[in-house]
Symmetry: C2
Subunit: 556 residues, 2 copies
């Protein structure tokens, strides 16, 4: 019996058979070589041994750290692989951004596989940093870490037979890659048509909606993100259909959730809490997802890489050790330095003044102006509202007392594509200003506040620190600035997740002290996303999403 380097004993979560069984797992040179006793240089014991978890769909940028830092934080939780859609960095830097993410992925033991963003830019109603056309997508699909064309979002283009989009899908099919869907509230004939081209979906919020998709052959991913938590509503599906068609994903999970609760490991724990059989819950974050993307891991069997989670307890997912390729301390292993520098220097606009951000009244002699207002309804949904605002010296002024604040979107990709101006209601901010270069999907610089002057200070600060999130409190003649620098594409920090967490909490606390809703900074990041109803603001002005066009802010 040949000697191996590591032997792990414990109750194996056998995702192939769906049962728990006492087993020895013999590991040599990073590979599981047998599920039986072998003489070993090192022996480990654990109550339970599960395959390393796979997050079926995640945008790492939502964590505000690089892929390498994300891995550093997630691997110790038992997440050993993710399917990452670098949609955000692609909107800033295009194919170069995606390639930077590929490179970043080499800096972590986390097995990062990629979906290539299919829908960059989200629309032509805003000036983003880049476009990924079919040729660019096809070229990226050839990369060895790519397993999918990532979430196809443009339903009209999909069902309408848009040539560019279908060329991207065809390029993925030619390469035997998975095509991910993105089908919120899509049903009926549109869904039937989408089913012809897409393999999976993670946007269901009701069990009925998810079931309709499964009936049509979709794999359904149960999402447990930060702003969208669908697991509890969907988990009953395990009683309706074979769980082999279900996976778990996080999609967008913020730094607070990641640090306090975890990533897809939290989804596994929650599924078990909700009554899912623990082995099935693990299958939904391992084997099922491996099958969805034809990944060679996500199971414990001879020939598989030794990606193992050693647990004190399965239901509470108390992790003792995580092995990646047999390495018992994977995050401590030195890696080759990155071949390219981090993608900094992406926040590029001329310094702005209060006057740049202010909206002029159509008739400078009027005393008041009637304006359209982006009204925050719930979460990141907005409604259409109107307000009557004072005009001073030809400029429309905000009404912080009535929670009607100015908002501006400054194009920041160095193309001088202008500033959009509008008003927002519902942020709760009573004074000061907030801003962010994380502003889905074009990631321009969005600022809102109680005064144009403070807003300009915030925008210019974000410019100076090369991107991030900032809160500014007026202080006499000056102002106190509090910010999280996110210099990587204006979206991410290369600091550890825990450090960004501390900083984010401090900034959030400051913002809350100014009256901002607890989730206001996150909400701000979505106010420029021109594909979610009803009103949004882009650097080209106010958008009425249902009309899919710009509208004037001032009602004449």
């Amino acid at each position: 019996m040949s000697r191996v380097d590591t032997l792990v004993r414990g109750t194996l979560v056998n995702v192939n058979t769906g049962v728990l069984e006492d087993r020895a797992i013999a590991i040599d040179d990073g590979e599981i070589v047998a599920l039986e006793e072998r003489p070993a240089d090192r022996e480990l014991e654990a109550e339970y041994v599960a395959p390393g978890l796979i997050d079926a769909h995640v945008h790492v940028e939502s964590s505000m750290v690089t892929v390498a830092q994300y891995g550093e934080a997630m691997v110790p939780r038992g997440v050993t692989s993710i399917v990452h859609d670098p949609h955000e960095i692609a909107n800033v830097l295009g194919a170069d951004g995606v390639r930077a993410a590929f490179d970043d992925a080499r800096q972590t033991p986390l097995k990062v596989r990629f979906g290539v963003p299919s829908s960059v830019p989200a629309s032509t109603l805003q000036d983003g940093g880049a476009t990924l056309d079919a040729d660019a997508v096809a070229s990226l699909l050839d990369h060895e870490l790519v397993v999918a064309l990532a979430e196809v979002m443009d339903l009209p283009a999909l069902v309408g037979g848009d040539e560019d989009l279908h060329a991207k899908i065809e390029a993925a099919r030619e390469r035997d890659l998975t095509v991910d869907g993105h089908l919120p509230r899509v049903s009926g004939s549109d869904l039937q048509e989408a089913a012809r081209f897409l393999d999976n979906d993670h946007e269901s919020i009701t069990r009925t909606e998810a079931r309709e998709k499964i009936d049509l052959g979709f794999r359904v991913y149960l999402r447990e993100g930060s702003s969208t938590k669908n697991l509890a509503d969907l988990v009953g599906l395990v009683d309706d259909v074979p769980t082999r068609r279900l996976s778990l994903c996080t999609d967008d999970r913020d730094v607070v959730d990641l640090v306090e609760n975890g990533g897809v490991d939290f989804a596994v724990r929650k599924a078990i809490d909700e009554g899912v059989d623990p082995v099935e819950a693990v299958q939904m974050a391992t084997l099922n997802t491996a099958e969805s993307y034809d990944l060679p891991f996500g199971r414990i069997e001879p020939g598989a890489p030794a990606d193992l989670v050693l647990l004190e307890d399965l239901e509470s997912w108390r992790v003792e050790h995580v092995l990646v390729d047999g390495d018992i301390d994977p995050t401590a292993t030195e890696r080759d330095p990155p071949s390219t520098a981090l993608s900094t220097g992406t926040v590029d606009f001329e310094p702005v003044t209060a006057a740049d951000l202010a909206l002029a009244a159509p008739a400078s002699t009027a005393e008041r102006a009637e304006v359209r207002v982006i009204d925050l309804v719930e979460g990141i949904q907005t409604g259409r509202a109107e307000a009557s605002l004072p005009v001073v010296d030809g400029t429309i002024h905000p009404a912080p007392d009535e929670d009607v604040l100015p908002i501006a979107v400054v194009e920041r990709h160095g193309t001088d594509a202008g500033i959009g101006r509008g008003f927002v209601s519902g942020l709760g901010l009573e004074r000061g200003a907030i801003g962010s270069t994380v502003a889905h999907d074009a990631h321009n610089c969005v600022v809102a506040g109680a005064s144009y002057d403070t807003m300009a200070r915030v925008a210019n600060h974000l410019r100076d620190v090369d991107g991030g999130i900032a809160v500014c409190e007026p202080d006499g003649d000056g102002a106190e600035m509090s910010s999280i620098p996110l210099p990587v594409a204006g979206l991410m920090s290369d600091d550890p997740l825990a450090a960004v967490y501390e900083r984010f909490k401090a900034v959030t606390d400051r913002a809350e002290a100014l009256g901002l809703d607890r989730h206001g900074l996150m909400t701000l990041s979505f106010l420029a996303l021109e594909v979610i109803p009803e009103y949004r603001l882009t650097n080209r002005g106010l958008v009425d999403v249902e009309r899919w066009d710009h509208v004037d802010v001032v009602i004449e």
Copy 2:
């Protein structure tokens, strides 16, 4: 709502959800475009609609007809795809034979996918027609119809790290292809080691054996062949493990079984008879196998090809119509003529005489000789026996009264590699002779009989008709010959399966009249297979399989 060419209504066997549900299936241009009502040029109704079945592992040569003729017969039964391992033609013609099978597959609506034979020749104890080394295998693996490296049979080479075999496996892995196993009675550490390299197995005969394989990550195929029928013994697995890891296959199914009972459709029916949930039985011959080989069919969902079986009844699998790519009469559709001629002209040896086949006594003056005898035990298993036979004019004569007959294996691949001579007991033949150029795996010309003269007649007849199976009854000075010509590689006929069936029955009846056991012609085909214990005869002489070497026939 766009018009489609075909609409099928019925109870859909939804293999994705595992449920039966009433549905309309809209088909256009060969593709399932929706699972809902659409205006259609043609409407069909059926009680049940299932996906076309997939046979997970089959050697078409065992049917004695070409791939095209096999398809012609099987498609109307609802078998719309097979994973074919052209192992037999490869032993005769090497890579050219495999390429001929690829070409043959274009002549049928049956979706033939291929495993590339991994173990040609079976040994060096016999002279076959060809060798497939790692380079040849790698080149074949590149063909678009190939989905696997077919059953890896040489366990010592596998666990011993044989370079050539592992190069073949590596070549398959590089191409993301499946690697099929062949692990009869393999367990314990050998199985653990095999599990590192192989993905599935179809050789289990007991539930315990199969379960051990599933625990180690193998997909297990339940086989229902002609000489090996394992389904009834294994079907209880559905209570032990998720059926997603199980598939159905036929491996080797002869013309009688195919015509009288069917192919993998019979296995589905039998699984249902044995108590398997009908939907799960269908899953084991559709979705599960599609997942095993990453096939784009085997399910009814938008985007999939319209390969459908319209059934009057699910449990009895009474087929009304079969659609392949939406074609309601697929076997009637004209296809392009083959680009290469059929592989005939493969039976090449000098005409033999009785003296060529007779075994000389070591001492020509002796009256009797003690000889080793291949003793037919059960099925195709043999034991070691001995006999004392009369010597006449220096030649050892048979003893038909005691059921000890001469057997000879004539190398027939044109290399003048000689004739092996021996004795066999248990065929039951009282007079005449039988012969075949179907003689696993080297497929030399094997003949056995009550007299050397009639044996020579049979061998020469098979030479004249370019291969086949023959029975010869002595008739005064002459002889009456009855045969099934199999001119394609000496293994297959290009006649319809039904015609070969009639011919096979007639020949079998003739042989039975001469005293041959009902399955004697099949048994004869395995007497030259030098890898099955205990004694076998090759063109190089008698083989003691356990010793993995030749032994003398005459005991001195």
